[in-house]
């Protein structure tokens, strides 16, 4: 689950306005909706809930990040990269001509699949910079495709939300896996399909 903690300036400003709107809207509307007392108590309950949520989740997030470290140190990403190269050559024919960009792309995609967010973002940014260099600072079709691919979740094992489910008492926290895979595939397919159409219409 990459990007839990936003750093982008524009996004932080957007969230600031949303927070402001939430507090103002709720204060004004809850008396009309007859929920004033519940809304009044909710804010302080929310802080307690944030702390207990964090505490409950810490154990499993830490265990999974230990497993991710094992995966990273055993070079699983490099093994997966070899399998992914033919696919990437088809998706990014121009960037794949440059060995450096291709290796950054494969590292990005395989780290994304394995859920290694710490490795995926720097590699993706290296690939994006290389593509921008190739096109002279213009947003090329391949750069846009890379962004679309990275904004769709490719992670095979969504461990954070599984931990949330386990903490809430799910009988089997990971039984959502097949559904997550199907839905991820649909979203990547839709993204690439729309990209293929839009790249012709939007110069």
């Amino acid at each position: 689950m990459r990007g839990i903690f936003p750093k982008g300036g524009v996004i932080r400003i957007l969230i600031s306005y949303i927070l402001l709107a939430v507090y103002l809207l709720c204060s004004l509307c809850s008396p009309a909706l007859g929920t004033a007392s519940a809304a009044g108590a909710a804010v302080l309950e929310g802080t307690q809930e944030a702390v207990s949520f964090c505490l409950v989740l810490t154990g499993s997030v830490c265990l999974w990040s230990g497993v991710m470290e094992l995966l990273e140190r055993s070079g699983a990403a490099a093994g997966l990269a070899r399998l992914l190269q033919p696919l990437l050559r088809r998706l990014f024919p121009r960037a794949a001509g440059d060995g450096e960009i291709l290796s950054a792309l494969t590292e990005n995609l395989s780290a994304n699949l394995l859920g290694l967010g710490n490795a995926a973002t720097p590699a993706g940014i290296r690939a994006a910079r290389g593509m921008a260099r190739q096109s002279g600072g213009r947003p090329s079709d391949e750069l846009c495709t890379l962004v679309v691919l990275n904004t769709a979740s490719l992670q095979l094992l969504p461990s954070t939300i599984a931990s949330v489910r386990a903490a809430a008492g799910a009988c089997s926290a990971f039984d959502i896996l097949p559904a997550v895979w199907v839905s991820s595939l649909c979203s990547v397919a839709a993204g690439l399909l729309i990209a293929a159409v839009l790249r012709r219409l939007w110069p």
Binding site: M1, G3, I4, F5, G8, V10, I11, L14, I15, L19, Y23, C26, S30, L33, G34, T35, A39, A42, G46, A50, L57, C62, S65, G66, V67, M68, E69, L70, L71, G124, R129, M131, A132, G137, P139, C144, V147, N150, T151, A152, S153, Q155, P158, I161, V164, A168, G169, A173, F174, P178, A179, S183, S184, S187, A189, A190, G191, L198, R199, W202
Partner: protein, 173 residues
């Protein structure tokens, strides 16, 4: 198949350990280092959760999302999406922490094994913080215009939410 999915965690960890051991990785040391990173991640997101959880709790308690869900329910019902997930779908592309907070509220209220709770989990597990990721990539590449990237990415998110609702209805509906 069922018991395989039930055993996902131990089987997966065992397989990863075996692979790492074959490569000569010091298992215990690597896991300790990874766990330390995990602690840092949780410490880093706690401030964000402390700001966002009260706001989302307030929003849900005020009854406004229900109103939104009721307004949208003719549309959402046709599409087969649980109305309770409306807020989650709105927040997901903007903020990962806010979406996590909204999803955990849904899972807590509706139950982790309910159709709505499962749909929320699948939605968040198969999507990313789209606007944030796009902002990071274009800023890092030094490209000011993003052309069709954001509309296409948001369409992919919409496809993700619709397919999440669809597959959950098939599997657990």
């Amino acid at each position: 198949m069922r018991s395989l999915l039930d055993l996902t965690a131990p089987l997966l960890i065992g397989a990863v350990m075996l692979g790492a051991a074959l490569r000569g990785v010091n298992l215990y040391e690597a896991m300790l280092a990874g766990t330390r990173k995990g602690l840092r991640v949780m410490a880093d997101i706690l401030p964000a959760l402390l700001v966002l959880f009260p706001a989302i709790r307030l929003l849900r308690a005020s009854g406004l999302p229900e109103l939104l869900g009721r307004l949208l329910s003719p549309l959402l019902d046709t599409l087969g999406v649980p109305p309770d997930t409306a807020l989650l779908m709105l927040l997901r592309p903007i903020s990962g922490s806010a979406a996590l907070a909204a999803a955990s509220e849904i899972i807590r209220q509706c139950g982790p094994d309910s159709l709505t709770g499962r749909t929320a989990a699948v939605m968040i597990g198969s999507s990313e913080t789209t606007l944030y990721v796009a902002a990071v990539y274009f800023a890092a590449a030094g490209v000011r215009r993003s052309r069709w990237a954001v509309p296409a990415a948001l369409c992919a998110d919409l496809a993700c939410f619709l397919s999440s609702a669809w597959i959950c209805r098939i599997l657990w509906g």
